[in-house]
Amino acid sequence: MVERRPLWTFATHAVLGGGLLVVGFPLYVTLVASTHTAQELLGHFPLWFGSHVIENYARVLSAGGRGAGSAPVLRMLVNSLVMAVTVAVGKVGISILSAYAIVYFRFPFRMTCFWTIFLTLMLPVEVRIMPTFKVVADLGLLNTYAGLSVPLIASATATFLFRQFFLTVPDELTEAARIDGAGALRFFWSILAPLSRTNIAALLVILFIFGWNQYLWPLMVTTDETMSTVVMGIKRVVPTGDAAAEWNLVMAMVMLALVPPVAIVVLMQRWFIKGLIETEK
């Protein structure tokens, strides 16, 4: 701030307080709702926490968000974790390799590869729903972890990020390594990969959240409830207008679906912001 104006300072904090309210209130209501019984939520909405925390969460984790028949949420959380980690690690892995090839080698069809990868930016899942589903079905990947994660692994943004970074690595480093007798793989493993550590960490954070929050893709490739992820599993328990809805259990499941990614963003703030700003450049 350039000048000291107490009134403005007050207004600033008031607006930011309003912002926190807008962001926090829905989360607070959800947390409160997940600690009551379904009956307590009817009529006047309680503003403070109830005493059914353990009961609600235990029931959701072991028996699912809605009565009998739905898969336990614990199983869905495991599915989400496997999917998110595979997507994040896979994307980083194949992107760093392809960026390395494109920057450090001259080979026929190099630019063809580059532009093919670029094209994926223009082909989000939503644009090719039916044919992609058919490919996955033909390969026998429906209801498998491979089907959930492998098709999402191709990534233009991560490849571009590594390409940009590799272009800033000084050529002298490569020359020195070659004089010392290092081959292409040795140079990559001993010099380039360690230099890319911060980029890799930042990308892993962003991509984990990307993988965890996928919705349309798991909706298409999983029909078996024991293979569904927690984020898409929520759709199955959302009440559709009947008064007897067990909102307390639904909200407990919602909390379980949103806590892991939010925790990662808050705890790994530095990597997260770096990843966010850099992948979009």
Partner: protein, 293 residues
């Protein structure tokens, strides 16, 4: 820009790009090609024969009043979502940038919704506005306003817009804040010495200097509203009531996956692809100008 020093190897580079290329070709390029071919095919009612019909599917699509209605819904939904999320993000970023102490605390809390899946954001808002148990619906009733998004199409649209914009505030906030912090303090101090007040400094100096960020965010927010909000609409309203919240992406999914109208769905996908390509081109043309190699 190219590397001066490169490695020589005939096989290795192909092995390195192979995983990325295989996945791209199998799950992106091939299905997209299929989609384009399919958009020009017409299957008879029993799925027995398929004819090549050129652009008949597209003709049918644009003659369908419901499809044009879907376009309008998408336009209103995207414009409102992007506008709300950008406005709120900018307001909070400008305020957080002014704060001397405690700025980090605000930032940490304001970025939490970024990590929340769109469908989860949708359910949070659905719960607050639920006509039976929702706390906001209760308050509105207390004020004499009846809220029931299950019957009222306009209210349903407002609900999905609020949920979609809420989730996107964090993203815009972080980018605006980064943009604001990149503006040299000297410029603002010079204006202050010349007697410009905070409002005037913002509109005459800060906002114009922020325009690259703003432009970038407009494109990103439109892409978000078009594509990433599918989960919100699918889980919260299911496109209803009476198609009041049916967006383009929701309809592609519904016609293809549920209605099994492959030709029509593929034609819609092609229209969507044209929109993405348009937005991507706009984004990259502008980035090419800004980034200096």
């Amino acid at each position: 820009m190219h590397k001066r020093v490169v490695f020589r190897n005939r096989v290795l580079p192909y092995l390195l790009v192979a995983p990325q290329m295989i996945i791209t070709l199998v799950f992106f390029i091939w299905p997209a090609g299929q989609m384009l071919v399919q958009s020009m095919l017409l299957q008879d009612a029993f799925g027995l024969s398929t004819r090549f019909v050129w652009f008949e599917n597209f003709g049918r699509l644009f003659a369908d009043p419901y499809y044009l209605h879907t376009f309008r819904v998408t336009a209103i939904f995207s414009a409102a979502t992007a506008g709300l999320a950008l406005g709120a993000g900018l307001l909070f970023a400008v305020m957080a940038d002014r704060v001397v102490r405690g700025g980090v605390g605000y930032t940490t809390l304001l970025m939490a919704p970024y990590a929340i899946a769109p469908v989860v954001a949708g359910v949070l808002w659905l719960f607050m506005f639920d006509p039976t148990v929702g706390i906001v619906a209760h308050m509105l009733r207390g004020l004499g306003y009846t809220w029931n998004h299950q019957l009222n199409g306009a209210q349903a649209l407002v609900l999905v817009i609020l949920a979609a914009a809420w989730k996107q505030i964090s993203y815009n906030f972080l980018f605006f804040l980064a943009g604001l912090q990149a503006i040299p303090k000297a410029v603002i101090e010079a204006a202050a010495i010349d007697g410009a007040g905070p409002g005037r400094r913002f509109w005459r100096i800060v906002f114009p200097l922020l325009s690259p960020t703003t432009f970038f965010l407009v494109v990103v927010n439109l892409v978000y509203a078009f594509f990433d909000t599918f989960g919100i609409i699918h889980a919260v309203t299911g496109g209803g009531p009476a198609k009041a919240t049916e967006t383009l992406v929701y309809r592609v999914f519904n016609d293809g996956f549920i209605g099994l109208d492959f030709g029509g769905s593929a034609a819609q996908s092609a229209v969507l692809m044209a929109i993405v390509i348009g937005l991507t081109v706009v984004q990259f043309r502008y980035i090419e100008r800004r980034v200096v190699y």
